[in-house]
Amino acid sequence: MPRRRGFGERERFMLALILPAFAILIAFQIVPILIGANASFRRWSLFNPEKAFVGLENYARILGDPIFYGTVLPNTFLFMFASVTAGLLSGLGLALLLNRRFRGERIARTAVLLPLMVPPVVAAIMVTWMFNDQFGVVNAVLTALGLEPIPWLISRWTSLGIVILTDVWLWTPWFTILILAALQTLPAEPHEAARIDGAGAWPLFRNITLPLLRPVLMVCITIRLIDAFRVFDIVWTITKGGPARSTEVFSIYAYKQAFVYLNFDLGSAASLIGAGIIMVVGAVLYKALSYAVEVSR
């Protein structure tokens, strides 16, 4: 008797189990991406049903927009590198401090993790009030010290600095916990051998600890850089891209095009350009990560 073609009961059962997840993936990930990609090649405003095909016109407009290449991209890359560098250094420092035996060690580790439990929007609102020019605690301290209060949120660099500071505060514990876990799994022998040879704390850290941490550090950097590229919540809450669009980062720019200016076409094109940029950045980082892992073997 020939074997029946198609799915058996077992396969049908397995398909039934994965079907809901697959349907959700299609409905909420694949279809919106396809609609967005389609919109990026059309004249498509949220208020107007006209959807004429315009080819690459929307891409040309985004790439030719001085705000995009003169403000948004520099801000985005500045935010990525400043935030990740400061977060990494702070996290590394805290991990080294916490990787010792001391009284209250457990309490200190828990306290360091607290910012991770704060939703970014809540943290951003808190920071906005701290830096409020009239009622904020920062200006109250400056005034108490006899200094002039500063209108923090009306200049590009102070605003961007506050956004970066907030991100560093939120993400330092994440670096700390990963680096601390790595530190505790490092082999003791190389350190002991170096100490017997008379190595001091700094050479020990620079020549032994840091190279051994390299794969973990590279994973942390890669994940955080990609994540920082798409930052939205804290920038929107603190500055909304202002003053006068001077602190817009990539995701704010795309959001404003689509949902403030209601140019769904330009917002979609900006999103796809951003996806392309982050794929290139991701590929470079992946190469660097592979190299770092290879070297440390």
């Binding site: 009306i154 003053p243 403030v260 200016y261």
Partner: protein, 431 residues
């Protein structure tokens, strides 16, 4: 449990789950109201609830922040989403949403309202698309414990001198505080532009799209009147120091907070905030405030000027017909209910749109008379926005360039505004 039974049970549960809301719906009608948390909306919803209880309708108010309101509602309307049956409709979104809204000409209460409120903001292809629930009119609020009515500045020069005098005497920290950043520019840039004889586009004070198109969609924030208005703010912040240095980053809420904390002698806001400013639980200046007309600029073309617009409730066109009828009955009832209209004024300071009620208030309420004298009885009345679909982008671009001008060097103001004007003209022409 075997697989067949598992699949059967899962399918059955899903069918019951999906069917349950339909059964629930059949029992009573629900009206979902999309609104912004604001004293006016809350007052209107309070009266809606009374009507709903009498008519056995479940009323579900769904709040949405002003900062994301237009994008959220636009997405809902264009996707024919079922999240709302009645939505708050601001005048400056009239042309944006026109095609997605149910015509409401058949709501009799509209005939009791001033047509200026409706044309052009709430008219789409000859049909009204919103039922006004309050008139929104900007006015100056000032502290009566610091300034007598006769002392309120009539022009910009007085405005600066009066503020400086109060600050010098140690009576108040700031002469003035007002919202400046997008989308709050009415409370600084726009009023001063209009009070100085300028406007955002040519021809002056024109709001009909056909006429704006004939004039070539020409933005005019680089006009001498506009440049002078932005210089006025630059000087107020940096030279005269009568306004907080952080003002270019202020929303209306930031400025309100300063005024209600007693740190500013004067602010500019919609009359609809009178109730909030006068509430001792929220405001240190409660019981000590009054209203006045705009101080006029050196290039003013009229003795006084004010804007007069409305906030309305609208019905998405895709809502089912039974709900549309219920919503229209509800909106008609609120506007014809004298008690509800008077309560709106007494509780918030918002002008009730029913003009018959306004006439009675003029007779009976001296505070209402004062508010009218400071606003709608001005020599020139204009609309506070424009009504072409690209207004949100046009408006944001204008405010961003004004903020750029006021935070940059004084001699760069003209160039920043010229750049903004050029971009705004391009945006408007795309309409």
């Amino acid at each position: 449990m075997n697989r067949r039974r598992f699949l059967g049970l899962t399918g059955g549960t899903l069918a019951v789950g999906l069917g349950a809301p339909a059964i629930g719906r059949a029992q009573s009608m629900e009206l979902k109201i999309g609104y912004m948390p604001h004293p006016i909306h809350e007052n209107s919803i309070k009266w809606m609830k009374l009507w709903a209880a009498e008519h056995k309708v479940n009323l579900t108010p769904v709040p949405t922040s002003y900062e994301v309101y237009v994008e959220k509602m636009t997405a809902n309307l264009t996707s024919r989403g079922g999240q709302y049956d009645v939505i708050w409709h601001n005048d400056d979104w009239g042309q944006l949403w026109g095609r997605y809204l149910e015509p409401v000409d058949d709501v009799p209460a509209i005939k009791k309202m001033n047509r200026f409120l409706y044309e052009p903001p709430f008219v789409w292809e000859g049909k009204d698309t919103g039922v006004a629930f309050v008139e929104t009119i900007g006015t100056f609020f000032y502290r009566t414990d610091l300034l007598k009515e006769s002392e309120f500045p009539k022009n910009w020069d007085d405005f600066v001198k009066t503020s400086q005098r109060l600050q010098k005497d140690g009576k108040v920290k700031w002469g003035f505080a007002g919202g400046m950043k997008y989308p709050h520019g009415w409370f600084t840039f726009f009023w001063s532009l209009w009070a100085n004889g300028g406007d955002l586009m040519m021809p002056l004070h024109e709001r009909r799209n056909e006429e704006l198109a004939k004039a070539g969609w020409k933005a005019t924030i680089d006009s001498p009147e506009a440049v002078q208005a932005v210089e006025f703010w630059w000087d107020n912040i940096k030279t005269h120091k009568i306004a907080p240095p952080g003002q270019p980053g202020y929303s209306r809420d930031d400025a309100n907070a300063i005024f209600m904390a007693g740190d500013a002698a004067i602010t500019m806001a919609d009359t609809t905030l009178y109730g909030k400013f006068n509430d001792p639980k929220q405001s240190k200046v409660a019981g000590k405030i009054s209203v006045a007309s705009f101080p006029m600029g050196p290039r003013a073309k009229f003795k006084s000027i004010a804007w007069r617009d409305a906030w309305a409730w609208a019905i998405p066109i895709h809502v089912d017909s039974a709900k549309k009828k219920a919503a229209k009955d509800l909106l008609n009832w609120i506007n014809l209910n004298e008690e509800a209209q008077v309560d709106l004024w007494k509780a918030t300071g918002g002008f009730p749109p029913n003009e018959e009620v306004q006439k009675k208030l003029i007779q009976s309420d001296p505070v209402f008379r004062k508010f009218r004298a400071a606003t709608v009885e001005s020599e020139k009345i204009i609309h506070g926005a424009y009504y072409f679909p690209r207004w949100p982008e046009f408006f944001a671009t204008g405010i961003d360039h004004m903020v750029k001008a006021v935070t940059g060097p004084r001699d760069g103001i003209k160039a920043a505004l010229a750049e903004g004007s050029k971009k705004m003209s391009e945006i408007a022409a795309r309409a």
